[in-house]
Symmetry: C2
Subunit: 413 residues, 2 copies
């Protein structure tokens, strides 16, 4: 393995999380201390910042503000949803990235993101190997969706799960206040994996378990749903259902599909409005008072309710990426290997970028109940250790004190 000396670039990509900046802090703080890293550059809006030569000099930042990144939600350097072409078809972007890498003598590249970002990271890594440009390239995982392959779980997931479970518990309390009937439907993020929707079931720890939980791992049947709601409602006068935005019929059609036709940069359908639509269906079928609640962006940016475990692990993932890279490792993603036997432990390991990119890790079918409308105990046992610990996020005048970065663009080569 080569011991390279040169600059590093850290980029953030994809949807924000409550702790993605904790990973950035892990990379930046560790890289600033590494002897072989001559400069630490932050890419403005992920790979777009590299392509556009918009790079921040992270050594200009106040160390106290970098520390506050641990409690600052969203992507402090800016994010993007930019899909690199297949280099065999169009290598324009790759040539440009190489040009920038050469311009600043970039020998370390850290890319912090989810599935699509690991694909970007993998493509750049393979291209640099192909053209023989020595650069250690590491993926730092993040995604609230928790669907990355090769890791026990993903930084960002636990904080979103904790916010969802806490909110479901609180809404449960609210929904049970009147002695009149009430059905509540809570829509939760997660296109193809039900990790977040399933986490609603953690409200059971507070004695506020949702009655029904629907994950995208099983096919949704509108009649079964309406009959299940009706049965619970008729028996108890209440029903609280948590549904993934990605629930779909047996033919693969999203239940929410009729509501929107827009797609994002990766061709994914933009979902939303499902809770309102299901509420309408339930109202028609039962005559009950129904409320549809969409947790929307709140669930991925609620730093005030973050998991301390998640913050710490997210930071460690960033730090481990730098430590591995400066020791000569490349073409890997930092992953977590965890044990839940006799207390929770979590260590960082390295996985090849190939096996991570573009696979979506789903909730095992056996962790979902037979009826497909709830999760089993192993699911709870998996998630619960991850949400432990209060964030204790710094405040000023009792409002969140987020990091203020100067973001000084570098012009020097």
């Amino acid at each position: 393995m080569e011991n390279l000396t040169g600059a590093c670039i850290i980029g953030q990509s994809g949807g924000p999380t409550a702790v993605i900046n904790a990973s950035a802090a892990g990379v930046i703080q560790t890289a600033l201390k590494a002897d072989c890293i001559t400069r630490v550059l932050g890419a403005a809006h992920g790979i777009k910042g590299v392509l556009e030569d918009k790079l921040y000099d992270m050594s200009q930042e106040d160390p106290a503000e970098l520390e506050l990144l641990k409690h600052t939600p969203s992507s402090a350097l800016g994010s993007c949803r930019y899909k690199l072409a297949d280099p065999d078809v169009d290598d324009t972007d790759y040539k440009r990235i190489l040009e920038i890498f050469q311009k600043y003598n970039v020998r370390y590249f850290f890319y912090n993101g989810g599935n699509d970002s690991m694909d970007t990271c993998n493509k750049i890594s393979k291209y640099m190997q192909k053209v023989g440009y020595a650069c250690n390239i590491m993926g730092v995982p993040k995604t609230i969706d928790n669907d990355l392959n090769g890791t026990d779980h993903c930084p960002g997931f636990a904080s979103a799960a904790k916010y969802i479970a806490t909110s479901v518990a609180e809404v449960w309390q609210d929904a049970h206040v009147y002695d009149t009937g009430m059905v509540t439907i809570i829509e939760i993020m997660g296109r193809h994996a039900g990790w977040l929707a399933g986490s609603a079931a953690l409200a059971a720890v507070s004695g506020c378990a949702p009655d029904l939980v629907y994950l995208p791992e099983t096919d949704f049947d509108m009649n079964e749903f309406l009959e299940s709601v009706k049965a619970i409602y008729n028996k108890t006068g209440k029903c609280l259902a948590a549904v993934s935005e990605g629930i779909h019929y047996a033919d693969g059609t999203f239940v929410s599909e009729a509501k929107t036709s827009a797609t994002d940069g990766f061709g994914h359908a933009q979902l939303g409005g499902l809770a309102a639509m299901l509420a309408d269906q339930v109202k028609q079928a039962t005559g009950a008072k129904v409320r549809g609640i969409e947790l929307s962006l709140l669930q991925r940016c609620a730093a005030h309710c973050a998991s301390a475990t998640d913050i710490e692990e997210a930071w460690k993932a960033g730090a481990a990426a730098v430590e591995a890279a400066v020791s000569g490792v490349t073409d890997k993603m930092v992953a977590f290997k965890c044990s839940r036997e006799g207390g929770y432990t979590c260590e960082t390991v390295l996985e090849p970028l190939d096996i991570v990119a573009n696979f979506e890790k789903k909730v095992p079918r056996e962790w979902i109940n037979a009826a497909g409308n709830g999760v089993e105990q192993p699911f709870i046992d998996y998630v619960l250790p991850l949400i432990q610990g209060a964030a204790n996020a710094p405040t000023e005048q009792s409002m969140p004190r987020f990091a203020h970065l100067k973001k000084v663009l570098t012009t020097e080569m």
Copy 2:
């Protein structure tokens, strides 16, 4: 003034808040210690519990669980939206209430609620005076809407305001992550008063001020709104607008009105879906990517993000009601008298129920900017002291630990 000896009833009514149970704890814990109060009874679902003779014996509860009420959102005894008739037209309910009061020798009645609940409390108070039944009757204020007359502010408002401001700050972070355009519209509760919507502006403390804030105190103009959004969006690529669910056109029609025709027990229109509707309008007018977010029930039950000041004041309001009643006071509501000169102070005072009931306190016009799309500094100065202090709500396995009440129905006279 008479020093009465007998039972007391505490009832909760109207929409829940994060701290309404802190007031209940203040009443119950103080009443359990009062010599002249022989029994402490909790009405199941407010005045309905009195009418139906469903009363819990609060002395059966574990004191540690009563203490946890301070951090348990929603109404632990159950709530109702039950409107008492004008006693001159139909006194059936009043006769029944008197019968129950006589059955249990109820000499103290505490009613914890908002505008409609203070009306209920006032009617019962006046009826008992008219029929000469000695009973000290006190209102304990609560409402996230902060629209009660005769008090500086209402318990419950500050915690909702804090949750709203914190969420707006976090969403602001999220909405500014991409370098592509984005308009975000956040719908906030408050039918006729803009205290909650205006509180979105507190996100400025975190450096995340919303661009536009619309309160129901001014008339809404769709063209002005769309032009304002467009101007900000064209200049910055982003726009974050906070809107009250109660915004209305100059003729009084709710902007959301076309979306729903349902009404609650008091004849109020049930609002909702406004954010989605405005998002659609903005999308059509600007072509921008737009997200509509409805804070929904989350904002009134987020005990995990409650204001410590609010919790403490809510408890004190309940305690003060009992202290006043046992000293012979009746027909009053506990109110807050506050000073913000040289540090915030708050003391409890007593106001006649007449002047409280059925008036809705609005945000002063001079606290709203001339254009009617933002709030002025005096508004911020008014709200900011109220949200101070972290709730430090108890948890078990990092999930909320809510109070578990036994709710033992009493059968003894």
